[in-house]
């Protein structure tokens, strides 16, 4: 019986923890799609950019250093040394770096709204979608030019390694980092829900999501709303970037987590926050189990496509997704 097989539960737990990460990225998509109808393809690169920036601040790197050095023949590297040296940075410094990165993400959100979205207001969804692909390219290029394209280590002092306590209790290997990622994700989801339910700004966001025109007519500024959602999405991206970067380093492949979040969106619906979370967990567990039990029979590495096929199959039977309402078409 596989339910008593510790491997099964280990796979399920690692699936759940991976699923939490997918949910986190999917959440960023959902926030922007709900409030502006924009399918933000740049969400993954946003996470990469955030992680790169955070590493840059923590290491005291000079932005664009290698470009400047090459153009002017100078030799800039660092503004300052990381306090604490090799034993890990002190908590105040980590907090300061995260705050600075958050500020950068908010500034970036403002720039995106002013430069990209505002001139494209009232364009069709597909045009905006493509604009975010362009944005993804710009962020990727600028991120690399600013901080260099080499793989970076991100260590903000989160616990890592297998949890001894869990090994003692159950014999399963579960990484502490993944547990902390899950905890952070849960905190983030709860605070986002509280924000959108109980603050004035949150209500305005939901108003815009329901009906742009109506929201405008009662004096909610679309631009401000967009700025806020893109900022929030940027912060969510930062969290995703930190978690992902802490476990596998900060490099270009980090932006590919966006591709893992897309099937989650299909499954959970583009506008549903609970959908993003449940969908992420289903996909995480589903792909890990499939890879563990079926993968070896068909050559492995099925994680790349299984999530998509799962979501696709599901959608064929329920086109409105997990939590979407049935659409009544009108003419």
């Amino acid at each position: 019986m596989f339910l008593t097989d510790p491997f099964f539960w280990e796979v399920v737990i690692s699936g759940l923890l991976a699923g939490v990460m997918y949910s986190l990225v999917a959440l960023g998509f959902v926030l922007i799609f709900k409030a502006s109808g924009i399918f933000n393809f740049a969400q993954g690169v946003l996470a990469l950019f955030a992680a790169l920036t955070l590493v840059g601040f923590m290491d005291g790197q000079v932005p664009f250093a290698h470009v400047i050095n090459e153009a002017l023949g100078t030799n800039y590297h660092h503004w300052y040394e990381t306090p604490g040296g090799g034993d890990g940075a002190p908590i105040w410094f980590v907090a300061l770096s995260i705050a600075a990165t958050t500020a950068v993400m908010i500034l970036l959100a403002w720039l995106v709204v002013k430069v990209v979205l505002k001139p494209l207001v009232n364009q069709e969804g597909i045009i905006l979608f493509m604009a975010t692909i362009g944005l993804a390219f710009v962020l990727e290029g600028v991120g690399d030019l600013m901080w260099g394209a080499n793989i970076k280590v991100l260590d903000i002092g989160l616990p890592s390694g297998p949890s001894d306590w869990i090994i003692d209790q159950t014999g399963m290997f579960v990484n502490k980092l993944e547990i902390s990622a899950a905890v952070v994700a849960v905190i983030l989801v709860v605070s986002l829900t509280l924000f959108s339910q109980y603050t004035k700004m949150g209500r305005a966001l939901r108003a815009v999501a329901d009906d742009h025109q109506a929201a405008l007519s009662v004096g909610i500024s679309l631009e401000t709303i967009w700025w806020i959602v893109w900022s929030v999405a940027g912060i969510v991206a930062l969290v995703a970037g930190i978690m992902w970067g802490a476990s596998s380093g900060v490099q270009f492949s980090l932006s590919l987590i966006a591709l893992k979040a897309l099937p989650v969106l299909m499954l959970g619906g583009f506008t549903s926050i609970p959908g993003a979370i449940i969908g992420g967990l289903i996909i995480g567990v589903g792909e890990k189990l499939f890879e563990f039990y079926i993968g070896p029979m068909i050559g492995g590495a099925t994680e790349n496509w299984f999530a998509y096929v799962l979501a696709l199959g599901f959608l064929l039977f329920r086109p409105q997704g997990l939590f979407g309402e049935r659409i009544i078409e009108r003419i």
């Binding site: 990209v116 493509m130 692909i133 962020l139 290029g141 492995g300 496509w305 959608l315 997704g321």
Partner: protein, 358 residues
């Protein structure tokens, strides 16, 4: 004088619906064709062939295909790379399995094989719309690449997992392999692009093209006035994949001569072709060609500017290039969401009215 309509009256519906309704435009078109078909082969060299002309022609083919699906039928697909892979692997299997088969036949067959795969992956479009469909097409992208990677039959169990095109001749000209002549490969690809650009034009100006556009513009109304959504969408997927399959076939056999699926037909291929049709113009044959030229030439140009003239390292040049492509995409979407082709149309309108703009 360019674009003078005066005196160029249309007396039949036939002449009213021709591709280039204005005499001087027809003249210009045939002059360009004569130049590229008759003059270019005399000064083509390896660099021009492998870095500029063949890439342009291959991507033009893919862009034509994707534009039929997205620009005309409105079904967003991100599976282009996967379908190019189908074309390439079909070509490889046909070339190695049937050595007597002439190259043009192989390429066309590869197109048909890709078309049938395209129909299968197009089936979800009947239930799923918009962005959901765009994401769903990624399933085909990832699944197909995985399949060609994992099933050794597709690459004839070669140790490297690569596919390599054996040398083949057609009418005495070597088209594939190390000894292929630049002018021969160029004319071979040019022939395909010329014929299939014309076919695309024919398909899009008739009943089927109008039905595609009707689905794109308002699918519910289209169905109510008699457009069969099943036939329209699947035919768009089939035709589109046919073109993209041919592009993949030419990419592998004539251009690179060898391919490894994850490297050659990854998701970045899908995006490259998507950018071509956005920048060139959605729903425009000419736009597909312009877009392909633009995206192929841009890196060539930038490598020359940044790496050769300004002496930057290739790494920085590459990142500059990514940034600039991104900026250009956003810029074009803001300035002219309908692409360079629309810009060209506006210029033509102005020329026709010149010097009296009202």
């Amino acid at each position: 004088m360019l674009y003078r309509e005066a005196g160029d009256f249309k007396t039949t519906y036939r002449s009213d619906q021709q591709t280039f309704p204005i005499k001087s435009e027809r003249f210009l078109f045939w002059a360009v064709i004569a130049l590229v078909a008759l003059a270019v082969p005399f000064f083509i060299n390896d660099y021009l062939e492998k870095a500029v002309l063949i890439p342009f022609l291959v991507y033009a083919m893919a862009a034509l295909g994707l534009n039929i699906l997205i620009g005309y039928c409105g079904q967003v697909s991100l599976g282009t790379g996967g379908f190019m892979a189908v074309g390439a692997y079909a070509t490889y299997k046909l070339m190695t399995g049937f050595e007597w088969m002439p190259m043009p036949v192989i390429i066309i067959l590869a197109g048909f094989i890709t078309a049938s795969v395209g129909i299968v992956f197009g089936l979800p479009s009947l239930r799923i719309k918009g962005f959901y469909l765009a994401v769903a097409t990624l399933a085909s992208q990832f699944f197909l690449v995985w399949l060609f990677n994992k099933v050794p039959w597709f690459y004839n169990h070669s140790a490297t997992g690569q596919i390599t095109a054996p040398p083949r001749e057609f009418l005495g000209f070597t088209l594939t392999g190390a000894n292929a002549e630049p002018y021969a490969t160029y004319l071979f690809c040019l022939g395909f692009v010329f014929v299939f650009a014309w076919v695309a034009r024919n398909l899009t100006r008739g009943r089927i093209g109008r039905q595609w556009m009707a689905i794109r513009d308002m699918d519910i109304a289209a169905e109510i006035i008699g457009v069969n959504p099943l036939m329209s969408k699947l035919s768009a997927f089939a035709v589109s994949s046919f073109y993209i399959g041919i592009a993949g076939a030419l990419y592998f056999s004539v251009w690179t001569g060898a391919a490894e699926v994850t490297e050659a037909f990854g998701i970045d291929k899908s995006f490259d072709v998507l950018f071509m049709i956005i920048i060139g113009g959605l729903g425009s044959i000419l736009g597909s060609l312009i877009g392909a030229a633009f995206i192929v030439l841009l890196p060539v140009l930038m490598t020359n500017i940044f790496a050769r003239w300004l002496g930057m390292s290739t790494e920085i040049a590459e990142h500059m290039q990514i940034t600039i492509v991104g900026v250009l995409i956003i810029f074009f979407l803001i300035k002219e969401p309908h692409g360079i082709a629309a810009l060209w149309r506006t210029i033509k309108e102005k020329l026709r009215l010149w010097p009296f703009p009202h």
